[in-house]
């Protein structure tokens, strides 16, 4: 279980996380547009950025965690850049250090279309972005850690491999927190809890199946599942009303287009609010 309380992270002078509260127990999706702070949230939980607030993993404050094999795994690439060796050797290294199952990692990589020969020849940073993501995701899952953070694991995977990865995620027994901006996952993983991430804040959680057909309505709605504030305006997610649904958007990045369009139309009409 991962608990974050009033989590604040400043990078380059600007506040990227603005007081995030969440308890991750079971399977979670952090769904948000690019730049909403999803990766920063994971980097903070993995101990990679300075933060204010409280982070606990399985009841242990992050600042006190040392040498805790099997407590947390992640697919953040920077975590695997430990020694300047080939990707296959890194796999060996992490099998030793984090107790990752080397054979399982290789099998997973094979399923995701990454062959052993390629890993024998290339360094981690010489792999393409998609292959690197598949590599780190396979390693994170192969550790069998009790808590797993997966940052955009579907990024640049082809549809068939996405389906395979969904199967792996469903079968995983760990606490899994996965970030993405792609809304099709709501349909694929209906039992997972969803936190919406916008501009450094988390909203929710709500079950994915509730959000799957939730419509986006401008402003605050009385029967809203969630009301979200953004720089481009406020919107509500409501069940059973007209309007674009989250899954229709395909990616949450398009929320801003939608809100901006609404604002442009209003300004053209001469509305003031």
């Amino acid at each position: 279980m991962i608990t974050v309380e009033d989590l604040r992270v400043k990078l380059g002078g600007s506040e990227v996380l603005k007081g995030v509260d969440a308890v991750f127990r079971g399977k979670h999706i952090v769904l948000g547009p690019n730049g909403s702070g999803k990766t920063t949230l994971f980097r903070a939980i993995a101990g990679l950025v300075p933060y204010k607030g409280r982070i606990e993993i399985d009841g242990s404050p992050l600042k006190e965690v040392k040498g805790a094999v099997g407590l947390l795994a992640t697919n953040l690439a920077e975590v695997y850049n430990l020694a300047p060796v080939k990707a296959l050797e890194l796999l060996h290294l992490f099998s030793d250090l984090a107790g990752a199952d080397f054979a399982r990692a290789l099998a997973l990589l094979e399923e995701l279309g990454v062959g052993e020969e390629l890993l024998r020849k290339r360094m981690l940073w010489e792999l393409s972005a998609g292959t690197r993501k598949a590599y780190t995701t396979a390693l994170a899952l192969a550790t069998g850690a009790r808590n797993v953070l997966l940052d955009e694991p579907f990024e640049q995977l082809d549809p068939a491999k996405k389906v395979k990865l969904v199967g792996e995620l469903k079968a995983c027994n760990s606490v899994v927190v996965m970030s993405t901006h792609e809304t099709w996952v709501l349909e694929a993983l209906p039992d997972w809890e969803v936190h919406l991430a916008f501009e450094g804040r988390l909203y929710g959680p709500l079950p994915a199946r509730k959000l799957e057909n939730a419509a986006i309505v401008e402003g605050r709605s009385d029967n809203a599942l969630l009301v979200i504030e953004t720089y481009a305006g406020r919107f509500s997610l409501v069940e059973g009303e007209g309007g674009r649904t989250l899954t229709e958007l395909l990616t949450l990045d398009r929320i801003y287009e939608l809100l901006t369009n609404i604002n442009i139309k209003r300004s053209l009409r001469g509305d003031r609010r």
Partner: protein, 285 residues
Amino acid sequence: MTLYLYYKLKGLLTDRSVLLWGIVFELFWVLMWVYVFTPIEGSPPVDILERMLRANAALAFSYLGALSMGSVAVGLAVSAFASSGAVAFAIRFTKLTPAKYLLEDFLAGVAAVVAYALVCVVTVVAATYARFGILVLPQNPALVIAYLALSGFLLYWLSRAVTLAMIALGKPRLPLLQMLPLFAAFLSYATLWLDLEDEIYALPLAPLLSLIVSAASGVEPATGGWLAGGWLWGSLARGVAPEPPHALSASLALASTAAWTAALAAVSLTLARKVRSVALEELAP
């Protein structure tokens, strides 16, 4: 011990840019030194020739070796910089605890520096043998290795301090700062011609190089200016023990090295507590 020690060392010994600057570049200058710059005139008696060649080889592998070690230290800085995020994660969530990391990273770094320096020793000895048919092995190999190890300690902590300073300054891509260990090596290299007298003790690597020359050749250590004024070659050619214009104090040289190493280690350990890790994206050109 974990596999980290093995893979870190392997990474440093197979890194293409370190191999280029630490071996290929150095090999070119070793050949130039032995075949072009070695000042042997006429046909001196064998015992004199042997002493001249031993001193010549000692100067070559100390000072050219310093450039090689400096290149490895730059490689250490680059890899430490790139792995800062991985280390922050590994010490929390793998069996690589902070103490194990510090020990294994230090051992791998020092071993790499010494290994590249030993390659320089071997190439100088081999090139000298190839040209003159005389094997000029170091007179006191154990002491040479001990001094090389001390150079490794110093350069390791210099590379760590440089890396952490770069991260603390918030300038992940500041290549000139990253090259600082090589600048230190070039500065020491200049003391082949330049006698710094007592000021040599203020330099981080130069006093050790003089001690290496002395341990390998039996010549009294100098504060620099080995190739200036002809005191070295003149004495060797006459068959008398060379007396440097300014002799180096071994105890002061070791004290200077210890002080530099301790100061750089202290800076590194202090900065390590303060700096954040660097993401892979920030390293992209």
